[in-house]
């Protein structure tokens, strides 16, 4: 089984990379993009029977820095 983890900067934390992407889209003629937030996706290959709670602990202890990032776990 797999877990897919989406890690994003929290709302209120400036995302200069997202802002640079938004700026580039605008200069390429893509109008109407109000904001861009850039995050990352981490996929874990897990032993059968692994639980979302275990993945949550991995996120809290390593995969996300909860001072600045939020995460969402998808078990697939």
């Amino acid at each position: 089984m797999k877990a897919r983890i989406h890690v994003m900067l929290k709302n209120g934390v400036l995302d200069p990379q997202g802002e640079a992407v938004r700026h580039a889209l605008g200069s390429m003629g893509f109008d109407g993009v109000q904001g861009v937030r850039q995050g990352k996706v981490i996929e874990l290959d897990l032993d059968d029977g692994a639980t979302e709670a275990q993945v949550g602990e991995m996120c809290e202890k390593l995969l996300a820095n909860t001072v600045i990032e939020s995460y969402q776990i998808e078990m697939i």
Partner: protein
């Protein structure tokens, strides 16, 4: 004073930091990241700049979970002295020894230049060689030096006189121009600028040397 300098794969300021400690009169031991204990009797642990573990995942994240960092956290919890410079500051925030986090520079560029720092407090073993309000010139070299913490944390740092240095001309977007902070007991310093790169006449400036001299003075055996 006995100093230990931690070496991670990707550290590149470890020897510079050791030289600066030695020039101030310290005995220095280099400690590999896989070691799980600090040498006996260490007074201060230095976590150097560089790109530990290639900055993978987040700057300092993987180093902060290495065996030696557990010993560093225990040392700090016991009231031991530690300082993290640049990547070392990132490591200390990732361990939770210091609050906040270092984000990508607001201008997105890696910045390598000498900047002006205002000494915000002389009340620590690291900064007592300066006068509060002094301006010193120290180099920075980082891509992720944009200090961030929530409003409550920033208010606390200021209220408790724990901001050690601010930038005179903010290069990276750090909240409140913060360049370096102290722990609650004032025995752990984290800073993005590199005092060890301004500690010898050959460096073109020696404003960082007072930090190492003050430390050896404060931590000399009684």
């Amino acid at each position: 004073m006995k100093a230990a300098v931690i070496v991670f794969p990707g550290s590149n300021c470890d020897r510079d930091l050791a030289v600066a400690f030695e020039a101030a009169g310290a005995d220095v031991t280099m400690v590999w990241h896989k070691d799980s204990a600090l040498p006996q009797g260490v007074d201060i642990v230095g976590i150097p700049g560089g790109f530990s573990f290639g900055d993978y995942l987040r700057c300092g994240a993987i180093a902060a979970r290495s065996p030696i960092c557990q010993a560093v956290v225990a040392h700090a919890d016991r009231g031991g002295y530690a300082m993290g410079i640049c990547n070392g500051f990132q490591v200390l925030t990732e361990t939770g020894v210091l609050p906040g986090a270092l984000l990508r520079n607001a201008g997105l560029k890696y910045i390598c230049k000498t900047v002006g720092l205002k000494v915000e407090t002389s009340s620590s073993a690291f900064t007592e060689g300066y006068n509060a309000g002094d301006t010193v010139n120290i180099p920075i070299a980082h891509h992720d030096g944009n200090y961030f913490a929530d409003d409550e944390t920033i208010a606390r740092l200021k209220g408790e006189d724990r901001v050690a240095f601010t930038y005179t001309d903010n290069p990276n977007g750090s909240i409140s121009d913060i360049a370096g902070i102290l722990s609650e007991n004032r025995r752990v310093l984290g800073m993005m600028p590199h005092p060890e790169r301004a500690a010898d006449f050959g460096h073109g400036g020696t404003d960082g040397a007072a930090l190492f001299r003050a430390l050896t003075g404060a931590l000399a055996p009684a």
